[in-house]
């Protein structure tokens, strides 16, 4: 755990020395704020010399807003600015429709050390007891000492705590995304770029720039490596790259397609697609020995493998029934079962972290949309209304899907909550953005 934390800070330092990728992702929430739960995140009080070294409350507000589950109140609409539970005027907040409140303080402890304290407060409970029955209305009270450079990370940590307390689900604010940026090929010698950033688009790091396409980044389960496809040698090859040391290893160089690599849940294998035997088939490679096992054997296209969380099965897209549909293969018995029946085509499926559902690209009447379907019951629920949706990737807590879509003629990343209520767009300042992949939990 400590090692991982150290490495994460190391990566943050790396951002400072590498040049920015110039594709910073903004967020435009397009739907779903109305049904979100109101919350007050009060600016933290500050005791120290000069300027605050970083933001906390505003980062927490942005996190909670972006989760789709909360609608944080704007600071200028707040009735007061308390920094501890004892300062809160409960009726004032209740009157504004706020039933949960986060208050806190930051105190400089000399040098580079800052003491951060915060409390999450149940306003209605506090109003009922007048805050006088012990600390019964304080849901969480925490304190920590952090460095100046840790403010943003610590704010995400607070968001995780608030989210988990109020929803019962682990927060995914300390996660990252990997994606491919494609700049104008006429004016850039290295238009294809593999980029990672914090889940909110901050701290972008470019892992690789290439004159030829880069595809299909996907995280290792420990969040330390990426596997992807690079055409840098004028043909597709699968690589694994350590995101901290930047060291990489070429895993495949077979004739034909070398594509769609995904780590197994135990991190020891890669599922992939190879066409070396004539047409695209799903294989599993043991990473240490590079030994291959062929999983599918069919004259039709088989592609887009994705692991079940127990690592015992794969789901994949196949044209064996005519148009592409999702199938599931048991790796122990080799038994194959069709999973989707609704819509003209279903492709690019991944299984939710709880193993109960899958998220996929559904094509109905020519429209490609992100949809979900239970693994046991077969009905499909279309979640999006955007155009040419592809490459869905699910947050490790199963709350949100990031995917690639076309907006005003440009490929952009978009978010949709698993219930379909919250929708947002992440337009980049420069270039097409595609193939997003959400990291596992990093802490």
């Amino acid at each position: 755990m400590i090692k991982k934390t150290m490495r994460l800070w190391l990566a943050a330092a790396l951002v400072l020395v590498t040049t920015g990728a110039n594709a910073s992702l903004e967020i435009v929430i397009t739907e779903g704020v109305d049904n979100a739960r109101p919350i007050g995140v009060v600016p933290f009080s500050w005791k120290g010399n000069g300027e605050l070294p970083g933001e906390l409350a505003s980062v927490v507000r942005a996190d909670l807003m972006r989760s789709g589950k909360f609608n944080p109140m704007a600071p200028d609409e707040m009735p007061q600015y308390p920094s501890t539970a004892s300062d809160v005027s409960y009726s004032g907040w209740a009157g504004k429709g706020i039933d949960t409140l986060l208050v806190g303080s930051i105190e400089q402890q000399g040098g580079n050390r800052y003491k951060v304290s915060y409390e999450l407060i149940d306003v209605l409970r506090g109003q009922a007891t007048g805050g006088k029955r012990g600390n019964d209305h304080v849901i969480v009270k925490r304190e920590a000492v952090i460095n100046a450079s840790d403010f943003r990370q610590y704010a995400h940590r607070i968001s995780d705590v608030v989210y988990e307390e109020l929803t019962g689900q682990r927060g995914a604010f300390l996660t990252r995304i990997a994606y491919v940026v494609v700049k104008d090929r006429k004016t850039n010698k290295l238009p294809y770029q593999l980029v990672i950033s914090d889940y909110d688009g901050e701290n972008e790091t470019r892992l690789l720039s290439s004159p030829e396409p880069l595809m299909s980044p996907s995280w290792s389960p420990d969040g330390e490596k990426l596997t992807y496809v690079s055409f840098e040698n004028k043909r597709p090859q699968i690589f694994i790259q350590d995101i901290y040391t930047m060291k990489r290893e070429r895993m495949t160089d077979f004739p034909g397609i070398n594509g769609a690599p995904v780590f197994s849940p135990d991190g020891k294998k890669l599922a992939m697609v190879l066409s070396k035997d004539g047409n695209p088939e799903v294989y599993v490679m043991d990473i240490a020995s590079k030994e291959l096992r062929r999983i599918t054997r069919n004259r039709a296209i088989d592609t887009e493998p994705s692991w079940t969380p127990d690592g015992k099965s794969l789901i994949f897209s196949s044209e064996r029934g005519g148009k592409p549909q999702i199938y599931r293969v048991n790796l122990g018995t080799g038994k194959v079962r069709r999973q989707t029946f609704d819509g003209e085509q279903n492709l690019g499926a991944t299984i939710t972290p709880d193993g109960k559902e899958m998220v996929l690209v559904n094509q109905t009447k020519g429209d490609y949309r992100i949809a979900r379907q239970g693994l046991e019951d077969g009905s499909i629920q279309v979640l999006t209304r955007t155009y040419l949706d592809e490459s869905p990737s699910i947050a490790p807590n199963g709350s949100m899907i990031i995917y690639s879509t076309l907006h005003n003629g440009t490929q952009v990343l978009s978010l949709v909550s698993l219930d379909g209520r919250f929708k947002a767009r992440l337009p980049a300042s420069d270039g097409q953005v595609k193939s997003p992949s959400w990291s596992p939990f990093l802490f």
Partner: protein, 188 residues
């Protein structure tokens, strides 16, 4: 070679000169030597003529070759102008209107068995990137099979699918999509 011959005639000429010193009028040996000399001169002249003829033939052959190379180059340039065939949505069958183009490539490749080509398969942006890689490969293979059926050696042909990753025309208009569903014969 030339020097060797000169040396050899010296070896023959030296005893003749010594004999001339002790007799008057041409002897049989002297006449024989003279005949020998004339014959040698004739042979030398013939050899020079033969060499000149060979040089002329060689020069002509070189010229012919250069003309041929120029023609091959011209053919290649013309073929590079017509290196793309287009496909229908989600299909990988060669449309009849593109057979003529592929036949020209096949004819050239059969005549130039050292020439290698890479056939690229591309798709429009509909569908998922991985599915499109598979579809692009199918298109590249359709072109490859067509050329092989027309007599081109498989040693001259290889394929690569770029799926939807290298569009010829940006955007999602019908025109752009039609331009992007393509197979491209790329000369190496």
């Amino acid at each position: 070679m030339q020097l060797n011959k000169v040396m050899r005639s010296f070896v023959i000429a030296l005893p003749v000169v010594t004999m001339m010193a002790c007799s008057s009028g041409p002897s049989e040996e002297e006449l024989a030597a003279e005949r020998n000399r004339v014959a040698q001169e004739q042979a030398e002249a013939e050899r020079q003529a033969r060499e000149a003829e060979e040089q002329r033939v060689q020069a002509e052959a070189a010229q012919r070759m250069q003309r041929q190379e120029e023609m091959v180059q011209e053919q290649l340039e013309a073929l590079k102008e017509e290196q793309t065939v287009y496909f229908d949505f989600d299909r990988a069958t060669i449309k009849s209107e593109f057979r003529e183009i592929l036949d020209k490539h096949a004819e050239f490749l059969v005549q130039n068995p050292d020439q290698e080509v890479v056939i690229e398969g591309h798709t429009d942006s509909r569908g998922t990137p991985e599915y499109n890689i598979a579809l692009g490969e199918r298109r590249a293979q359709a072109v490859e099979t067509y050329l092989m059926n027309a007599g081109v050696s498989s040693d001259q042909l290889s394929t690569v699918s770029y799926g939807e990753e290298k569009p010829a025309v940006m955007g999602s208009t019908e025109y752009a999509m039609a331009q992007n569903r393509r197979g491209v014969v790329v000369y190496q």
